[in-house]
């Protein structure tokens, strides 16, 4: 199996990655076209919904939340894998993360931006969204700091801005490379501006390392808190199916899971579209797949814990809801979630599938679907089978408008992501060089000071 070659010329790394900024495969443009198309549809739906009122989403009075919130959680969850790869694995000195963490981090940023859109789309009075912002205003009315939604807003803001900064800071050396290699034009100017005059001096690198490490340390608890807070939106409420103590870890596990699944999907797409076969190698993919499998099993376990705790809690209402999820109108989706989330990842346990790109691609899409269904199954059944039997569901199938906006969000994410990958080096050049450097070093000193190398790799 081909891994990143130790003898690859550093200049070639620069060339290869810089090429991705110039001429991707034609599939890139096809993807971009569909992204723009679906995003356009989403925009159309949103404009209509803005004009007419939320009713066109076909939500109803007991069933006030629907796909918007479910998809919101989905996108928030997706963002976690970027942090996992760039921060957690960074601290753990896993050097295989280096070629892929950049796009994972971009995914974090853009999925957070997509999730942020859903907060807006979901609001009945979008034009008044700033009431939720704690800005000093003429009337001295503050938002309600007790609301988990406000914590959410705060956490997402923190997470998004920290992620953007983290992404940016980590990209500065590469921006400098891009600056140095780009033919003159607006892009060169842009890179020049963004590179902040990076020269790779010892002082810069020294501060860079500490900064990067520090932010990574912040990002890990932040990421955990973000999804715990999203879980609090539900866990802090009184509703059956939501008021579950295991929700925060469950959400975090789900988030990592869906993020990893998304990374596999995007890995495969990027690898092909930008001709990154030399960098996004199959051994790396194999590692992600194994990681995903492990997280999938954690998620499955936490799922079982949730059901078991509901089952043994003697809380008739929650139990009712669980049975309803398994047998009621949502049953097909619920079982599909179990299938996609717990059964499909078993494919990853089979060694020969761990590097089989078509299988992995299909599987990762199924995992994503499963994770999206999971979020839907968290949000909707509680409304349709809550405490108050009289108000159990009327007719709550999301309207085309709701679906349109959900699909539009995928278009929006893809658009942002694809444009980013074409605009900025989606493989971290300097870190690939580091990786190559350390491997060479390792080969050189083979046997002599193995331990030092293992630890010395950054």
């Amino acid at each position: 199996m081909k891994d990143i070659r130790e003898d690859i010329a550093w200049a070639k790394i620069n060339q290869d990655v810089m090429k991705s900024l110039e001429n991707p495969r034609p599939l890139y443009w096809v993807i971009l076209f569909f992204a723009v198309l679906t995003f356009g549809i989403g925009i159309g739906c949103e404009v209509y919904q803005y004009q007419m009122g939320m009713g066109v989403a076909n939500l109803d009075n007991p069933h006030v939340w629907g796909l918007y919130i479910a998809t919101f959680i989905f996108w928030i969850g997706m963002s976690h894998s970027g942090t996992l790869l760039s921060a957690i694995l960074h601290l753990m000195h896993a050097d295989w993360r280096k070629p892929i963490y950049r796009f994972a981090e971009a995914m974090t940023t853009f999925s957070l931006m997509t999730a942020g859109l859903f907060v807006m789309v979901h609001l009945g009075r979008l034009w008044q969204f700033y009431y939720a912002v704690p800005y000093p205003n003429e009337r001295w009315v503050w938002p309600n700091f007790q609301s988990p939604l406000l914590w959410d807003a705060m956490a997402i803001f923190t997470y998004l801005s920290s992620s953007v900064l983290f992404l940016f800071v980590g990209m500065i050396p590469d921006l400098a490379i891009a600056r140095d290699n780009m033919h003159s034009g607006w892009r060169k100017k842009l890179y020049t501006l963004l590179a902040l005059g990076w020269e790779g001096t010892d002082r810069q690198w020294r501060n860079f390392r500490v900064t990067y490490l520090t932010i990574a340390c912040f990002l890990i608890p932040l990421a955990v808190s973000v999804h715990s807070i999203v879980a609090s939106d539900f866990g802090m409420s009184q509703q059956p199916g939501w008021h579950v103590t295991s929700f925060p870890p469950y959400f975090v596990a789900g988030a990592l899971y869906s993020g990893c699944a998304a990374i596999i999907t995007l890995f495969i797409i990027l690898r092909y579209v930008f001709k990154f076969e030399d960098y996004m190698t199959l051994p790396i993919l194999k590692k992600i797949v194994r990681l995903t499998f492990a997280i999938a099993m954690v998620w499955t376990y936490l799922n079982c814990i949730e059901f078991a705790s509901v089952w043994y809690s003697h809380d008739a209402v929650s139990k009712d809801l669980l049975i309803q999820k398994m047998t009621g109108p949502y049953a097909p989706f619920w079982w599909a979630m179990i299938f996609c989330g717990s059964i499909v990842p078993l494919v990853f346990a089979i060694k020969r599938f761990q590097t089989n790109i078509p299988v992995l691609f299909a599987t990762s899409l199924l995992l994503n679907l499963g994770m999206w269904l999971e979020r839907w199954m968290i949000v909707s059944p509680t409304f349709s089978h809550g405490y108050y039997p009289w108000t159990w569901d009327h007719d709550q199938w999301p309207s085309m408008i709701q679906w349109g906006i959900v699909f539009g969000s995928f278009g929006w994410f893809t658009l942002l992501f694809m444009v980013f990958c074409k605009m900025f080096p989606s493989v971290s050049m300097y870190e690939v060089k580091e990786m190559v450097y350390h491997r060479t070093l390792h080969l050189k000193q083979n046997g002599a000071s193995e331990q030092t190398v293992e630890q010395g790799v950054h």
Partner: protein, 284 residues
Amino acid sequence: MSVTNLLNNWAAVRHFHPIDDKPHDPYKWAMAIDLDACIGCNACAVACYAENNLPVVGREKFQHGQAMHWMRIERYWNEDSREFPDQGAEFLPMMCQQCEAAPCETVCPVGATNHTQDGLNSQIYNRCIGSRYCSANCPYKVRYFNWYDYPTTDNVWPAEMNYQLNPDVTVRGKGVMEKCTFCVQRLRAAEVTAKGEGRIVREGEVQTACQQSCPTNAISFGNLVDPESRVYKQWKAQQVDLAKDEQEKDKREGGTDLRGYRIFEDLRPYPSVMYLERVRESAV
């Protein structure tokens, strides 16, 4: 200076409402609904439409569950798989329970729903941004969202029909949450009048629209801290204490022969509406 103020008032702002405090001075509006007297005739619900400018949403939106009835009459069958419901139906008027520890209040991101000093759960339409978290967290599902802009929707208030709108009550536009207010416009008018005369609102001086129309007087409404009020007497007689999540009488061995109860008391929202159980004759 805000921090000084914060420190000075620390004790006050750390009070738990209503348990620690005695905030209900001089009013705590509360209700008692006798399910044995309720005949399910819907007069209260129509009165609510008339008083509170509720939109008639029409067939299609009603089908989608977007009805705006602040007060809904629920009809339950207690037939236990008998062939006929031979003890009749059970009607239950359900509206906002004006919980003392309302689950909806804490979760609103913008503070559009708050507790008032007289024990109401108020909804500020202007402040509402429509996150609908309050409704999601309401165990009774008595909050109604404006899914459409009803004032401009065809045939909701066409010309002339809009003349009927009560000028004391806002007409709500799209995207805000609304719910039963205990006819707060009437309460405020009465409170202001009473204040001007240096007294508190007397029993019977103010009625909610539903109470006023109820042909069997199943609904009584009044000031729970006024020992003269019927509501006070009813709560007292039924031994239902506002600030308890389990009533003493229910802990008693062998149960109680009183029929006052509050719905979902065990969830600890401390609702301000006491229901009196329906009674059926045992001899037939």
